[in-house]
């Protein structure tokens, strides 16, 4: 409302007194007595005296000094409008899905301030049930990979034009595709398995639209690690080209022929949890697991009975089991040393018809037909494996891919769109894919960077990272999951589905497309609320119509029976996938390189593995246990010997690693290595004599052996002829291993028993002679005491509010390492690079110790008398039993580390935690020396900023040194400075958050409400966390189990970590 009111300063203003008007122009209406002040006599005569001078001097020096200091540049962008549900300090969780053609898992993504920082399994999934593995939880680092393509690019006269707009690539591609169509040319979409219904529709729309224009368009599916053998076998026998749904949880007897179903075989993420559920002796029974294989796989190392067979013998073994189980006569001879184990397996299988399971890792159709016939004869279809609920996560068709390469080489392909696939890297050299690609006129690559394939194409249309993408997935019939972005796209990328649609003339918003599609086909609802609910849970399981697949073995079986045999060679090569790198998709992720291989404990390399006796033969040294110990040892300053592996006319120089448990006559080399781009990590110190000074492109991490894969009816990872190995004398190769000693030396580190003993000793296991005998120590009066009853120190108060503890079930632990990487990303553990790992300086807060039994086969240290016994006990047995033991800080109640720290930087909390105060640590390392478990890690350098020529690795492998990479850091955990000790904190930040949560809810901390990174990442629930003072917490039941024991109880450290005895079903 307007007003006419006026205000005056005084009556003079109201009256507009001329004097006032005149004065109001001046700033000071009255005359200030400046002159009077300045003309004062004292001021004039005084001048600047000494005191004033010093004041001025002090002030100006201080001011100049302060001005000279560089003020820290703080980059922070305040919210103008706070986004919904985004509170600094409070994490948000999004249900999403990981699928890269190799691993499928429904996941939960933790974001902080809009950044995804942690990946966990999603327990709502009925397929993967909350499991994830090391590859999946480490994949978050890939999002912040600053070497990803930052936008579309096209090749102009042989060089790449980057920084161009999307229309600059889409328009010419469309033009070229149309011209191909106009001349009835061939267009091929080459992708890895697509299990997304919406993506399939996009592909189909593309095919339809260009077919309508006259082009011949087809979609070829190609998996880097192919399951064609099993798919083709199922197609012939059952008429379903899909994987069966395996139900390991229903299997009482599991026989695996080289299938690493806990590590990398098919949907291992789903199988591990199911398998572990059959390995609980508390149930009174355990599945019996037989593994027959050539290399020692993660699965084989967990088997109750294991037989090592060359690949050719392995095929015979499958046929042998088939003949015995079905009564069908097939002539297959198996080596005598394994025959007894096979017979025992056959006996157990036959006794458990309908609740047994036979699987094979072979990619040979004939073997898979035999395996199907075995399962069929055992009535396992419908119970432990089921094709009525087919699994779609592998659909690659090797025959189609082989045909495609022939067409390409014949110049019959005019345009190719390559999606989520890197065939130049993964296809066998004999298929000449690279040569064929050069003959294709239009090559569009939908990868994330100019990798092996991308660099040879004409256009790069970079795809979103999966954490920036929308998608839907249908891993198995009736099971659906969704993928949603957890962060806006970081670079100028676009989802391939949108680009492909645009090429087909339809501009879509893929998010809306997925939503519409999902509502229509899965939810059968048009309600936004239903969609939101599905998105929140991430998973939908629909009832599946009961159909009955009928087996028709017929001719497939007779072919299989006559063609299952492999020609046997002196050396047979098996290419395998490692738990860390899998198919090599994530070969630029340093976390996965630094994750030690669960079996060999090697980091950063692939290598030739051989049986020790074979290795000694190659070295030309007499095969004695002393010589094995001396010649096969690989450690800090003991580099590996280099061998030349020749396959046909290709040869590789690779380091040699003797692998206990490997079948004699077998050579193993891991796939997934030698990726382009990894040469940026390496240097002379990493590669030793194999460093190529002339062409740095050859200095990749490991060597790519995909190219020697065998092409028969499928692309096979077994090469059984023309394989030879010879020693390259005079060359050595430094190897970085986290464990240089492999046996327990008669010490009771991993306590073991058998199932029969476990059952017969119920109630007496802790007594004298029991498998878990309670250790007693005599005091000075000769009275036996438990180790925790004899004490020099005063007790810590343990009956306060909480006392946190862990229980680790060594029977459930399969050694996969998912906990190690989860801990790594939760706690901002620095990656340090190969050279530092080689010097035993890896920073992992938790590790998984892997022990082999020794040639001495000692039961305990009483069996070791004298020097030679101890030396023999250092040498691993040829066919060892294997034990895994996750070790993190044991949070001892009487911690040896706490008493020795001169500055009290490591202390005991009232909640039972052994705390490390980084700020107070001066770095004497006394605590680490005095730790019996050796779990403390010292910051030898400033890993997050040291970048000097003498130590160039940290800048390459430590995400914290990259502006984008450091976005992956967990803001709840500080990045440690150089010179301080660090170690497992039992995820104290999660404990604090959980306590706060409970407090807000006004309740006690509920069991399971707090999970450490390792316990939440464990796919087999081997690690459980809880409050030892709260009887409601499950850990209190677990610690009372008869299997429970403390590691090194005799030292008297009184840990808060319980281990559960490993029980073998033998």
């Amino acid at each position: 409302m307007a007003t006419n009111k006026t205000y005056w300063k005084g009556i003079e203003e109201l009256e507009k007194n001329p004097n006032f008007v005149n004065n109001s122009k001046n700033e000071f209406s009255e005359l200030l007595p400046v002159d009077e002040f300045l003309n004062k006599e004292e001021v004039k005569t005084e001048g600047t005296n000494r005191r004033d001078f010093l004041k001025f001097l002090g002030f100006s020096v201080t001011a100049a000094t302060l001005a000279a200091c560089e003020a820290p540049v703080t980059r922070s962008i305040p919210f103008l409008n706070k986004p919904d549900n985004l509170t600094p300090g409070i994490p948000n969780y999004f249900a999403s899905t990981y699928y890269d053609g190799f691993d499928y898992a429904s996941i939960l993504v933790k974001t902080r301030e809009g950044r995804p920082i942690f990946i966990d399994g999603n327990k709502n999934s009925t397929y993967t049930k909350g499991s994830a593995n090391a590859r999946i939880n480490s994949s978050v680092l890939g999002l912040y990979d600053s070497k990803r393509a930052k936008g579309p690019a096209k090749k102009v006269k042989g060089s790449w034009a980057k920084n161009i707009s999307w229309s600059e690539v889409i328009n010419p591609i469309t033009k070229d595709l149309k011209s191909v169509a106009s001349r009835q040319g061939n267009i091929v979409i080459l992708s890895n398995t697509i299990i997304s219904p919406s993506s399939k529709e996009v592909v189909n729309n593309f095919i339809a639209s260009y077919s309508a224009l006259g082009a011949k368009v087809k979609h070829v599916t190609y998996d880097a690690i192919s399951a064609s053998g099993i798919l083709d076998a199922n197609n012939e026998v059952f008429g379903v080209r899909a994987l069966p749904k395996y139900s390991f949880e229903k299997a009482k007897v599991i026989v695996s022929f080289g299938a690493d179903f806990l590590g990398t075989w098919l949907d291992s993420v789903a199988y591990t949890k199911d398998y572990a559920s059959t390995r609980k002796p508390e149930n009174g029974w355990m599945s019996k697991h037989y593994q027959f294989e050539s290399l020692l796989s993660l699965t084989g190392s967990n088997a109750d009975v294991r037989g090592a067979l060359k690949p050719s013998d392995l095929n015979n073994a499958v046929a042998y089991v088939y003949s015995k189980v079905s009564g069908d006569s097939v002539s297959a001879s198996v080596p005598a040393n394994v025959k007894a184990k096979l017979d025992k397996a056959i006996q157990d299988l036959s006794a458990n018809k309908g609740s047994s399971l036979v699987v094979s890792g072979s990619n040979d159709k004939n073997i898979q037909v035999l395996v199907a016939a075995i399962n069929n004869a055992l009535n396992n279809y419908g119970s432990t494996l089921d094709l009525n609920q087919p699994v779609y996560t592998r659909q690659g068709n090797d025959a189609e891919f082989v045909a495609l390469t022939k067409e390409m080489n014949g110049g019959k392909v005019d345009a190719i769109l390559i999606i989520d696939s890197n065939p130049v890297y993964t296809s066998p050299a004999s298929l000449k894919f690279t040569e064929g690609l050069a003959k294709v006129d239009l090559k569009v690559y939908f990868g994330d960077r100019l990798d092996e394939t991308g660099i040879l194409c004409d256009y790069l249309t970079p795809n979103h990272h999966y954490l920036e993408s929308w998608n839907d997935f249908n891993p198995a019939k009736g099971i659906y999951s969704l993928q949603q972005p957890t962060i806006p796209k970081l670079f100028n990328t676009q989802q391939w589905q949108e680009v492909v649609s645009e090429l087909a003339g339809q501009t879509i918003n893929y998010a809306e497309f997925v939503e519409a599609n999902f509502k229509a086909t899965v939810l059968n609802s048009s309600s936004k609320a239903d969609w939101n609910a599905a998105l929140q849970v991430g998973n939908i399981s629909n009832a599946i119509s009961s159909s009955s697949v009928v087996a028709n073995f017929g001719s497939a079986l007779s072919t299989a029976k006559s063609k299952f045999k492999f020609q046997s060679g002196k050396f047979e090569l098996e290419l395998y996938t490692k738990v860390g790198l899998g198919n090599g998709n994530q070969a630029l992720n340093p976390w996965l390189h630094e994750l030690p291989d669960p079996i060999s404990k090697m980091t950063y390399d692939n290598y030739v593995t051989m049986a020790a006796s074979d290795a000694m033969e190659v070295l030309g040294v007499e095969d004695t246990s002393d010589n094995r110990r001396d010649y096969l040892y690989i450690g800090q300053d003991y580099p590996a010997k280099v061998v030349k592996l020749t396959v046909g006319d290709v040869s590789y120089e690779l380091p040699l690693v003797a692998q206990p448990g490997q079948a004699k006559g077998t050579i193993g080399v891991a796939l997934g290595y030698g990726r382009k781009g990894t040469e940026l990590f390496t240097r002379k110190e990493w590669l030793g004599d194999l460093f190529d000074t002339e062409n740095n492109n050859n200095n990749t991490i490991g060597k790519n052996v995909f190219s020697v894969a065998n092409v028969s009816n499928t692309i096979s990872n077994i090469v059984n002829s023309n394989v030879s190995v010879e020693l390259v004398s005079g060359k050595s190769y430094p190897m970085a291993t986290t464990q240089t000693h492999h046996t327990m030396m008669g010490r009771k580190l991993v306590n073991e028993t058998t199932l029969s003993q476990y059952i017969s000793q119920r109630g007496t296991a802790k007594e004298h002679g029991g498998y878990n005998e309670q250790l007693m120590i005599l005091d000075s009066y000769g009275v036996p005491n438990k180790p925790n009853e004899l004490d020099l120190w005063a007790e810590h108060p343990i009956e306060l509010v909480h006392r946190w503890g862990l229980s680790i079930d060594l029977n459930s632990c399969i050694g996969c390492g998912a906990c190690v990487t989860a801990c790594h990303l939760e706690n901002n553990v620095p990656a340090v690079g190969k050279d530092e790992v080689r010097r035993s300086r890896e920073m992992h807060w938790m590790r998984i110790d892997r022990y082999y039994s020794s040639v001495k086969a000692e039961k305990d240290y009483h069996d070791l008398n004298g020097r030679q016994d101890y030396l023999d006990a250092e040498v691993s047995a040829d066919e060892p039993t294997v034990a895994f033991q996750p070790v993190m800080c044991q949070h001892c109640n009487h911690a040896p580390c706490e008493t020795v720290c001169p500055v009290a930087a490591t202390t005991h909390s009232d909640e039972g935690l052994n705390q490390m105060t980084y700020n107070r640590c001066v770095g004497t390392r006394y605590c680490a020396n005095n730790c019996p478990y050796k779990v403390r890690r010292f910051n030898w350098f400033q890993y997050d900023s040291l970048n000097i020529p003498a130590f160039p690795d940290f800048a390459k492998v430590n995400a914290a040194q990259d502006d984008l990479g450091r976005m992956v850091l967990n803001p709840d955990v500080v990045v440690r400075s150089r010179g301080v000790m660090e170690k497992c904190s039992m995820c104290v930040q999660r404990i604090q958050a959980g306590k706060l949560d409970a407090k807000k809810k006004g309740e006690k901390v509920q069991d399971g409400a707090i999970q450490t990174a390792c316990s939440s990442a464990c796919p087999t629930n081997a690690i459980s966390f809880g409050d030892l003072n709260d009887p409601q917490h499950a850990i209190n039941k677990e610690k009372e189990q008869e299997r429970a024991y403390f590691l090194l109880e005799e030292v008297g450290a009184q840990p808060n970590v319980y281990y559960q005895t490993k029980v073998r079903h033998i």
Binding site: G635, Q636, D637, Y638, Q739, T740, H741, H742, T743, M744, M745, R747, L749, E836, R839, S840, R841, E842, D849, R850, Y851, Y861, Y870, L871, V887, P896, T899, V900, P902, V903, A904, R920, C921, V922, G923, T924, R925, Y926, A928, N929, N930, P932, Y933, K934, R936, F938, N939, W940, F941, L946, I948, F951, R978, G979, V980, L1047, L1048, V1051, G1052, A1053
Partner: protein, 467 residues
Amino acid sequence: MHIVEAEIREPLILGHKSYNDITEDVCRPIESRANSLWYMLFGLASILALWGLGNILYTVGVGIGVWGLNKTVGWAWDITNFVWWVGIGHAGTLISAVLLLFRQRWRMAINRSAEAMTIFAVMMAALFPGIHMGRIWQAYWVLPLPNQFGSLWPNFNSPLLWDVFAISTYFSVSLGFWYVGLIPDFATVRDRATTKLYKVIFGTLSFGWSGSAKHWNRFEEISLVLAGLATPLVFSVHSIVSMDFATSVIPGWHTTIFPPYFVAGAIFSGFAMVLTLMIIMRKVFHFEDYLTMKHIEYMNIVVMLTGSMVGVAYLTELFISWYSGVEYEGYAFMNRATGPYSWAYWSMMTCNVISPQLFWFKKFRRNLVLTFILSIVVNIGMWFERFVIIVTSLHRDFLTSSWTMFHPTYVDIGVYFGTIGIFFVLFLLYARSFPVLALNELKTILRATGEHGVKGSKAHHDHKEGH
């Protein structure tokens, strides 16, 4: 002190010296130009010292990672060197304090330099706990200083903290004792000084010493008091250093025998180092008349005795590790003797236990060349002893999965040899500017145990009336 020694005793000062001769001989290095041998040694030591300083700066600048340590072996050369230097420091105090209390007159020719050696060796030793810290700039946190972090004190349970107190006490008492002994000698140098500079320097250093009876009285008293104070320190310092290991849980460290065994080892290595230095000094400054073969022989006997004590300790450890029946302990010693570091163990055994046994023979005890070589061998052996204790115990402890090896880097080696260089730089400077023999004390025994006294008194008897 006008006691005449028995004739069968060898004189401790040869060559019919007069009081003035002693003054002249001892003051000569201070007042004249150094000879070329001194310059050679000094040049060599300076190069080593500079190289060592460079390596220390590199370590502090970049991180402890420039050494060869790892997750399992958290101490190696650093603490080996620390214990080695502390051990060497022991002989000085033993000689000046314990032998003073026992009225051993032969100590008078060697105590000044032995104490100087102690001080420099303790300085070198004190360097290592400092630079081995990850964050040396926070080193003052180990001191119980009032602070603003709340009432935050060091951890009084930690043997490392005990070390701080033990070493600093030891260093200050040794320094005080040494300085008190120097006062009358500084006064002698002052009185002889011809330049103004020397007069001012030595005048200040000698605190206005006038040589009055009262001064001498106080001097004797304070010497005795300080000797009394220093004597328990001889035993406490190395006992406490040994507790760094003995109070831990690591097999091979967790041993009750450590305190006496470490003290014996320390005296052993200290005497060996005194021998090394004395033989060089005898040669460079022509002190054959003062550092007689008898002195060398006495010290060799101490070396032989303590070497044998150390040998008994080694054997006891071995026996107990077997007799205890503790599997980890048993393996730790099996591994020492036969494992990958057995070469270090057998070097230690040879140098420390076997080689001193040569001194059972008088011929060897009085052989200068052999003594010089063995004195170095013993210190090599004692370095290996600490290396064996620290590294071979750590590298294979409880969990076999963590077993690993330690390989030193050039920085490890550079720092170690650097401290030897710094030590010799300090010692050589001392030799040129301090009275290296205890003038005033030597003069007190000249009449009694000098050749003049022992042999001379006999001659006096022949010619004149006896005293």
